[in-house]
Amino acid sequence: MSLESLPNGLRQAIENDHQPVRPLHPAWMRTIFAVAIMAVVLAFVLAKASLRPDIDQLPMWLSWGCSALQLALGILLIGLALRESVPGEGIPRGAVRIAALTALAVQILVGIATSIFSPAIAMPGSGIAPGIGCLKHETAMALPTFAVTLWLVFRALPLRAPTVGLLGGAGATVASDALIHLLCPMSNLSHVLVWHTGAVILFMAVGWTVGATWQRRHFQRDS
């Protein structure tokens, strides 16, 4: 048996590159790698920053509890993205929709609960300056995890690359918001919805766009 029995075009392409390759690690192992990067970033920020002033007045389930929930959800979303990036391991479309909507719903519900339970804290100036500050921090914290997730994703062959990008973007920002939730002193609902949830939506959109661009380039280069 040899390459000669293959069609010409295929044989020539294969002959140019037949180096041995090492199989990718399973999705759960690649998730651990992305989570390790995330843990380093979040631990660094937590060591440098101070917790929100009303942390002691918030119920435990709302402060550390919701933070843990967001972190777990973020890790789950990254795991789904990495699993979806391998052909034949795709997750049902319904599960993708539920995961993305749950990420947004948790963000909104945590924001509403915080605005209800937190004692009002007056912040100087308008809401835009602290909002932009939160967006910058959230972006800086989410970006390393997001980049590593996308790198791991595109080393495989994501067949629904926009979906994978969206899940990766959501996972990275929801996980970083788990820490922002413990740091940001603003409890008013408009701030949390616009800037914190907005950051999640922004990263989901960026992930979708990156995925769509990759898919267009990867699958149209020969057609």
Binding site: R22, V86, G90, A156, Q220, D222, S223
Partner: protein, 184 residues
């Protein structure tokens, strides 16, 4: 045609592992083992034998570039069929953009398992299969003709196994209804 699915899957897995190690004979082995069923599957998308053969080459090129994304000892077939499906869908999308239409052709000859074959003569079954909507036809072909489990069908298409089962059941029901209507 009785096929030992487990032995076949083990053989494909062994070929895939050797192929990842750089053995090009293993690649040829994979190509020979999967060529006919993959052309049959591609036909459900393009309904044209020549185009299906072209897409088979494109599929194996994509498979070659992404060979590191297969993780042994997972089943090989869902991995390959998912890539095949994607190549076909991307081709259809590009054809729609260019507004190209290919002439439909007869189905290529493929083994038909007893549960489908017993419904009518082979030619009638193949004609009725071809008349089904693509989504129904795809599930039916993957499960009943190519012998995939509903779990595998779900992994390939990106739907829940239950959804795949319902689609296959409805497709089979539709074929039976059409047979009754035709008085077969």
């Amino acid at each position: 045609m009785a096929v030992d699915r487990r032995a076949e899957e083990q053989q494909l897995t062994a070929l895939m592992i050797d192929y990842q190690k750089g053995d090009m004979d293993a690649f040829t082995g994979l190509y020979d083992a999967l060529k006919r069923p993959l052309i049959r599957y591609l036909w459900t998308f393009v309904r044209n034998q020549t185009m299906a053969e072209d897409l088979l080459q494109e599929t194996f090129l994509q498979l070659h570039r992404a060979r590191q994304s297969y993780t042994p000892p997972r089943p090989v077939r869902p991995w390959i069929y998912a890539i095949t499906r994607h190549v076909a869908l991307m081709h259809l999308r590009s054809m729609r953009r260019r507004k190209e239409i290919l002439p439909d052709e007869d189905l290529p000859e493929v083994p038909v398992p007893p549960e489908v074959d017993q419904l009518a003569d082979r030619r009638t079954v193949q004609r009725l299969l071809a008349a089904l909507p693509r989504k129904a036809q795809e599930v039916l072909i993957l499960h009943h003709l190519l012998g995939m489990s509903f779990d595998e069908v779900g992994q390939i298409i990106g739907i829940a196994p239950g959804t795949a089962k319902v689609r296959a059941h409805r497709a089979l029901k539709k074929i039976r209804e059409n047979l009754v209507e035709e008085g077969a």
